[in-house]
Amino acid sequence: MSVTEIQFQTKGMESAPVQVIEGRSQWQLTWRRLRHDKMAIASIIVILLVCAAALIAPLVATWTGHPPNQPFPNTGTNAFGNPVGPGTHHFLLGTDNLGRDLLVRILYGARISLFVGLLTTAIAAVGGVSIGLVAGYFGGLIDTLLARFVDAVLSFPVIVTALALAAVFGASLQIVIGVIAFFSWAGIARIVRGQTLSLKEKEYIEAARSIGANPWRIMFVDILPNLLGPVLVLATLYIPTAVSFEATLSFLGIGIPLPTASWGNILNVANDYYQVAWWYVVFPAAALLMTTLAFNLLGDGIRDAMDPRTERIFAGSQAKRGRRRRTVSPEIAVAAEGS
């Protein structure tokens, strides 16, 4: 029997069954705890509703006969040329400054928000995890360089840079996604690097190294699964950050260009009409707040469900806070920068 065969056999015997049981029970336990968290379930429902709203946007446009970018100057604006209120002439949520159907535009805005939020978070998660893993695992010069780079990205004046980039390339969906993704991965990378630093000293990594596993295998097969929990929580909390980042850029006129509807650019124009058309501000703002709040609540809920030791203020279990702060602070930093 050759050496490789022995390796193969021992590895098969040790890891396969153990992995299966552990993996399932961890996620099952998390789900069981999450299921009893009323706030988390409510936020899942809200998120599903927002997704549904985004999906049925074209259907609603057909039913109402109001395409998102078509103005109705006769029925959609009043004698002074101002928007008309909810319920007038079959405009369920009223109209905007040009007499377009606000409901349809908000539904189309949900598509942009979800698309940008989910895509940038996915890019940031993949980038942040890879860079954090490499920096933490290899250490030394690579780590120093990457860590400095992360510090630099985190200390950049985000909005000013975004303004400058929009001035250079012109406002567009691609620029928005690029800017948000670029400023989001660094926080994830920093957390993943920290976790990798401690995980790589564990005995099972030493065991993997001693049977000759190469660094990439150790990083992505042995270390990565242990990071999925924290990364999932972080990613859930990055989605609302990205959504409000996009809205802020669009509000400043450097995000999604008109006439494409986005909650941010609807609110940008609405800023001039709040005295005559409350619905023009309230409905898009409510959609935006509801979405970001739901993702934040869900992220908090998943974190609590994964770590039974954290304090759960709404569910009511007795525990101390402790570990929570570490995972929270970078998210807050980015959130603050983003807004």
Partner: protein
């Protein structure tokens, strides 16, 4: 001695940060705004090619980028930020004109958000799990979720509009400076302060609550209580000082983020400050003004961070400055 060495090192690294950010902005804008566009904007559509060339030459735009960069750095060292392309004034003058509203906004906003954030955080921590704690936790989540501009717009709609309709004029949109009296000044900036405070205080409530809860569980707090000290004294003299360390470090991070917040708030309320000027200058391709803003902003963040680092030592004697 140790302190001195620390200071020198921090100041040097701060200068490096300022240099890197400024240079990045310089080269970004060099690519962003072609000299021909600047000259044409200034001289008008009908200008002849000779006039355009003369304009570009007067501004020094016909020189190679590295020469321009060198001139820019040389001027910067002397505190000269160059001249605005459009306003026909030195950038320092533009900044001096637009600085007061922004400073008012920042000072009032930071004061309000620290007071609210710390007060609510301390009250929640000392009454953990009470109704007050639950309500404030929910409020914190809403505050963290809300984008700054949405808070500002809702305040305009819910606070400003009804107040102005009922003839209550303290909260106003008439520009005022501290020179025009405290009442007018605070009325003009009030909604801006509240906007900054709502978004930021949430973060500070969460932080101070969590860190105070942790600290209150430590042994030395039990020792202090067992000595028979009053709960007030335990809380404010023993626990609060060390619990404030993470809050102070978060403040260092947020002063950078504040710049973005100020731009948004000035935009929502139409306050003619530095942020407003910067957004306009970017739209006009007025590179010197934008660079001036970036230099000033970065300088501010660097100084704030050095001050924050020194505060650590004061708050928590266990922290050694090295």
């Amino acid at each position: 001695m140790n302190m001195l060495r620390f200071m020198i090192r921090r100041i040097l690294s701060g200068l490096v940060v300022i240099w890197v950010v400024t240079s990045a902005t310089f080269f970004l804008f060099f690519k962003a705004v072609p000299e021909a566009a600047v000259a044409r904007n200034l001289a008008g559509k009908a200008a002849s090619p000779a006039v355009l060339q003369q304009v570009a030459k007067n501004l020094g735009l016909n020189q190679p980028i590295l020469v321009q960069y060198w001139h820019f750095l040389a001027r910067l060292v002397h505190g000269n930020l160059g001249k605005s392309y459009y306003l026909q004034e030195p950038v320092t003058t533009v900044i001096k004109q637009d600085l007061p509203p922004t400073v008012s906004l920042v000072i009032g906003g930071v004061t309000l958000w620290l007071i609210v954030g710390l007060a609510v955080g301390i009250l929640s921590a000392t009454r953990a799990r009470s109704i007050f704690d639950r309500i404030s936790t929910a409020g914190v989540l809403a505050g963290v979720s809300a984008p700054t501009f949405v808070v500002g717009q809702l305040l305009l709609l819910i606070v400003f509009l009804p107040l102005s309709k009922t003839g209550f004029t303290w909260v106003s949109q008439t520009p005022a400076s501290i020179g025009s009296g405290f009442g007018k000044w605070s009325g003009y900036f009030f909604l801006g302060w509240v906007t900054l405070a709502v978004v930021q205080a949430a973060v500070y409530t969460r932080l101070s609550r969590g860190s105070l809860l942790d600290t209150l569980g430590e042994d030395y707090i039990r020792t202090a209580r067992s000595k028979g000290l009053s709960e007030r004294r335990v809380l404010y003299r023993h626990a609060l000082r060390s619990a404030l360390t993470p809050v102070v470090s978060q403040l260092g991070v947020d002063l950078g983020a504040l710049l973005g917040g100020v731009i948004v708030v000035e935009q929502v309320f139409g306050i003619q400050g530095l942020g407003f000027q910067t957004v306009q200058s970017i739209a006009r391709g007025d590179t010197p003004v934008v660079l001036g803003f970036v230099v000033l902003a970065t300088f501010f963040v660097v100084v704030a961070n050095i001050v924050v680092d020194m505060l650590y030592g004061v708050l928590d004697p266990r922290v050694r400055i090295t």
